[in-house]
Amino acid sequence: MSTAERVAAIAGVAESDLGDVAPKTSIQLQAEAAREALTEAGLTFADVDALFSAGGETFAASMAIGEYLGIRPRFTDSTNIGGASFVAHAGHAYRAIAAGLCEVALITYGSTQRSQSSRSLGRGGGVRGPNQFEGVWGLPAPVGAYALAATRHMHVFGTRPEQLAEVAVATRKWASLNERAFMRDPITIEDVLNSRWISEPLHLLDCCLVTDGGGAVVIVAGERAGDLPKTPVWILGHGESHTHLGISSMPDLTTTPAVYSGAAAFGMAGLGPADIDVCEVYDSFTITVLLTLEALGFCGRGESGDFVSGQRTAPGGDFPLNTNGGGLSYCHPGMYGIFTLIEATRQLRGECGPRQVDGARVALANGTGGVLSSAATVVVGRD
C-alpha cells in the first residue's frame, strides 16, 4: 500500500450485548460498545471529535449518543439510509478525516427490537405520501419486497430455492464457529426448504434473525495509526448509492445499488473482486446475498445461484462469506451494517479463532438498506 492510501484506519471495534438484552436500552448498548471500541483503540471519549449514528429511538441518532457520552463533535452525521447506514458512515468518516475536519470518528448503533417486541410486518391505518400506493396491500415489510425480488430473479435467471438455501446453510456453519452467534445448530438445505413459508419464495430460514444488539467502530486519521494498540485496518475504498425507497420503484428487481457503491469502492481502492480475501455482506434474506454478490461483480448477472452452490461460501469453501454467521444466524437487530465492518476488521487482524480466514489481507463490507434500496461498500486492508 502506498502512503497516499493511509488516510484513515479502523482502530477499534466492539459489539454490545447481543440476542435478548432486556432490560437494557438501545442507547446503553451504544454507550457500552463505544467504550469498548475506544478502549481497544487506546482512546477515550475525550478524543472523539466526530460522531456517526443512525436508528434508535430519536430523530437524530448522533445527537443522542453525543449527549449520552458527553461528546461535542466538530463533525456529525445522522445519515439514515437503513441498514447500510454504518458502512456509509465509514466512508463519510474517511472523507471528513481526509478533509481535515476530524481525527477520531466514532460510529455507533444499538437496537432492542427483540426484547421490546417492536418489530412488526406492517402498521395499518392511514397511509400517506408515496407509500399510499404500496402500504395498502398487506405486503409484509420488509420480507415481502425481498420476496418480489427473489421471484423475479428466479423467473429471469432460473435461480432455484435450494440455491437460496445454500446461503442459509453455509452461514449457519460459520455461526457454529462463533460463540456469540444466536443460532448455532447446523441446518440442512432440506431444513430450509421445509421451514414454513413467510412470503413465497422465501421460507422462515431464508430470513434473518430478530435480535437485540449494537456495536461501535472507531476510525482514526492515518497520522494516529502508529500509536494504536491494534493492527490498523485501512479504508482503501468506499462507495454508496440508492435507487429507490419503495420496491415498486426499484428500476430492476435483480440489480441492487451495490452495483454503484461497489464500483466506486473498488475503483478508489484500485482493486477488484478477485482481490478480496474475505467478504461480509448484509444478509437480511438469502436473496439479498445472491443479488449483492452479482452487484459487486463476484459473479456474473444471474450466476449467483450457481456461485454459492456446493457450500462454496461455508467454512473451508473457496469464498469465505459472512464469517461471523451473518444476520441469518449471528445477530440482526434491524440495521445490520455495522457488524459487517466489525467482522471484516477482526478477520484482517487475525482475531477470529476457529472461524479465522487464513492470511486475510483485504476484506469487503457491504451494507444494504430499506428494500434493496440503498447500498454502501467499504474495502479494507492491512499492511
Partner: protein, 134 residues
C-alpha cells in the same frame, strides 16, 4: 386489532383516488415528455416538467413479479394466503396490487391481468385476463 390500512389522498394524488372511487384507473401523463408517470408526482422525474394530464389507463398489464403472503401484518391475517404483485401496465409504469379471482398456485410472472377496482377501502386490485382476451 390494528386498523386496516387505507390511502390518505393528498393534493397530487387526489385525482387518482377520485378515479378509483368512480371505478376508473387514471394515471398521470407528462405534458413535457409524454411519458406516463406513477406514482403521481408534482414534478416529472424524467424531464422536470410540472404539467401533467390525467389519462384513463387501459387497465391492462402483466405480472412483473409476485409473492404469496403467508405471514401477514395483523390486520390481514385472516386472508392468508394472498398474492401481492407488481404489475407493469401497458402504459409502461409499475404498480403494486393484490391479485384476485386466481388461485395463488396459478399465478406466474408475465401473466396478463386487468384492473378490478373493488373492496373497502376501494382499491385497484387486478385479476387475470380471461383466456382468449387481452
Amino acid at each position: 386489532m390494528t386498523e386496516r390500512a387505507f390511502p390518505v389522498p393528498d393534493a397530487v394524488s387526489k385525482p387518482f383516488w377520485e378515479g378509483i372511487a368512480e371505478g376508473v384507473l387514471r394515471i398521470q401523463r407528462c405534458q413535457g415528455c409524454g411519458r406516463h408517470v406513477f406514482y403521481p408526482r408534482a414534478v416529472c422525474p424524467h424531464c422536470a416538467t410540472v404539467d401533467f394530464s390525467w389519462v384513463e389507463a387501459s387497465g391492462n398489464g402483466r405480472v412483473h413479479s409476485y409473492t404469496v403472503v403467508h405471514r401477514a401484518p395483523a390486520e390481514y391475517r385472516d386472508e392468508i394466503p394472498y398474492v401481492v404483485a407488481l404489475i407493469e401496465l401497458d402504459e409502461g409504469v409499475r404498480m403494486m396490487t393484490r391479485l384476485v379471482d386466481v388461485e395463488p398456485a396459478d399465478v406466474r410472472v408475465d401473466l396478463r391481468v386487468e384492473v378490478a377496482i373493488q373492496g373497502d377501502p376501494r382499491l385497484p386490485y387486478f385479476r387475470p385476463v380471461p383466456e382468449g382476451e387481452g
